[in-house]
Amino acid sequence: MWLRLPLRSLLRNPRRTALTLAIIALGTAVSFVVIGFVASSVAIIQKNTVDQFGNLEIASPSLFDRTATGYDYLIPADRLARVTVLLRADPRVTGFSPQLSFSGLAVVGTTTRVVRATGLVPGNAALDYNAFVVEGKGLEPTDTDRVLVGRTLATRLGLRPGDYLSLTVTTVDGAYNVSPLKVAGIFRFSVSEVESQQIYLPLGFAQTLLATDSVDTVVVDLRAVNETNAVAASLGQAVASAGLPLSARTYEVLSPFYRDLLAYFNVLFGFLLLAVGVLVFFIVLQVTTMSFLERTREVGTVRALGTTQGGVFRLFLSESALLGLFGGLLGLVFGALLGSGFNAARIAWQPPGTVVPVFLTVTLSFGGAWPSFAVSWMATVLSALYPALHASRLRVVDALRST
């Protein structure tokens, strides 16, 4: 009866109940779809960030914090060997690659650009930019004075595969060094900043240019993105225990853009859910107040028959809880259909900070479903609190007199 009565009460005025359900469902569906869209966007941006930084990097804190003096942040070969041992011992690590980054001047004819150069191990899957090459070819393990150039940078310098650029750098001892490098390929990358500034060359050649056998960073790939923080913590402890002056930082920490974007999306989430919650709350409040008022005499009757104030309160609250439940579930179904429709429509768009258009995707997951449902359900139940409390506290005789 305690379920039957609220259930049937919902059907007293089917039109009003249908309208209320539609509002709750619409709020839930909008939240579900927007959360799904944002989740897929974040996933794309996360993947791009991981492609750029790896899951995490191990380097000197002074490099991470930009407090280094000269090249004091470099990791000499013996330390790198000890780090390698630690990484190989962790089953969550699927690959790692040392790299050496530095700034230099790229000169082609009379055009000069400041570039960010990174020496990497060609063929190492942990840091492989060959997959992004759109013109020419990638770097081979046997390559020496070859270079991959970002697409935007190549356009600005007028470079094509097979062309040469001249790279001027400062060695670790402070001397100038200049070398010609042949463009092996031009790469496209999802982060515009990388495309416009970055060149990649074999690590060995980069070390020769800087006159060092050290590296500055070890890029680490993991079997799962969601293990990143845990692995960073344990590796950080391990290197500290080993007495190495190094630390591990995740892609999230290394990319202020990703961090800011995530914070922005979280605020957006908050506002969206708040807006949906407030909208549902006030509309349902109006409907429940009207619905409960119409049943004032019924409240008097059930109270006169011996129902307690708490009993009346629970009765009305259950009604709203059921309304929220059905509206929320309906909203999830509607949202899933809407999201599937968007996914099928293959609408192209470009996520912030990326250069490659992607299809608009709505991720329909439990992670997106439950907050949408919870907010609508809670707003519905909360909207019934005051009317239910008011109804339960009516004087029985007054309620019975109501027409």
């Binding site: 009866m1 305690w2 039957r4 009565l5 049937r8 009460s9 059907l11 007293r12 005499r297 019924e298 008097g300 009757t301 059930v302 109270r303 006169a304 028959l305 011996g306 129902t307 307690t308 104030q309 708490g310 009993g311 004087r395 029985v396 005789v397 019975l400």
Partner: protein, 246 residues
């Protein structure tokens, strides 16, 4: 009938008793005295009709007897228990256990069937399903609605609705049934049938009935008739010779 009285009343405390009952309504600065010191007693198995014109205080008295309102002064005892100090929750429990109510406008819950309406007080009393089914079926049979138990109030006539209300009032075996103008919304033939039903149930079950009405015809069914005027009982404890007005 006297034998019946004796059987019902033997060794029992008064089912309901009031002493110096006063009720004052305040409308702004104005005070209206609805009851002016009512001493009233109903024994087990009584069938009392309180008769009086509109505004005489009969519904106020009934509300106080039903413990759905509190007196300004005086006391109400139900089955020997003084209700003055009881909390809202305790009063609800008292109503649930000892009082059945019949309303002028039937006051059935429209979304529940006849069976479910009659079952409602038993759910409040947490009676088991099988027992509920047995008691409701038996009462609906007694009020002649066994075949209409699945119908909702909207699908029943006025007389049938009032019969459901009667079944609901009696289903929890109360000591006292209070009826407020139970025939006011019924045609005279149906009113007669309902009153006869009330009398029959009163006799069969030894339940005290207090019926409030302004219809003189209803008074004819009383074993005891009381007249109320301007908040005072005029004929304190007069016995009516004939119980039925057939």
């Amino acid at each position: 009938m006297e034998q019946e009285d004796a059987r019902c009343q033997q060794g029992e405390a008064a089912t309901v008793e009031t002493k110096g009952l006063k009720k004052v309504y305040r409308f702004g600065h104005e005070e209206v005295q609805a009851l002016r010191g009512v001493d009233f007693k109903v024994d087990r198995g009584d069938f009392t009709v309180i008769n009086g014109p509109s505004g005489s205080g009969k519904t106020t008295l009934l509300n106080l007897l039903a413990c759905i309102d509190r007196p300004t002064e005086g006391e109400v005892r139900i089955d020997g228990q003084n209700t003055a100090s009881l909390s809202e929750g305790e009063l609800a429990a008292l109503r649930r256990q000892k009082i059945g109510l019949i309303f002028q406008t039937f006051n059935l819950i429209p979304v529940l069937s006849a069976f479910e309406n009659a079952e409602y007080p038993l759910l409040l009393a947490r009676v088991g399903r099988a027992e509920r089914k047995r008691r409701v079926a038996s009462l609906l049979e007694a009020v002649g609605l066994a075949d209409l138990s699945r119908r909702r109030p909207d699908d029943l006539s006025g007389g049938q609705r009032q019969r459901v209300a009667v079944a609901r009032a009696l289903v929890s075996d109360p000591k006292l049934v209070l009826a407020d103008e139970p025939t006011a919304n019924l045609d005279s033939d149906t009113a007669r049938q309902v009153m006869e039903l009330l009398r029959r149930l009163n006799e069969d079950r030894c339940v005290a009935f207090v019926v409030v009405t302004h219809d003189p015809a209803v008074a004819g069914y009383a074993r005891r008739a009381v007249r109320i005027h301007d908040g005072r009982l005029l004929e304190g404890d007069a016995r009516v010779a004939s119980a039925t007005a057939s």
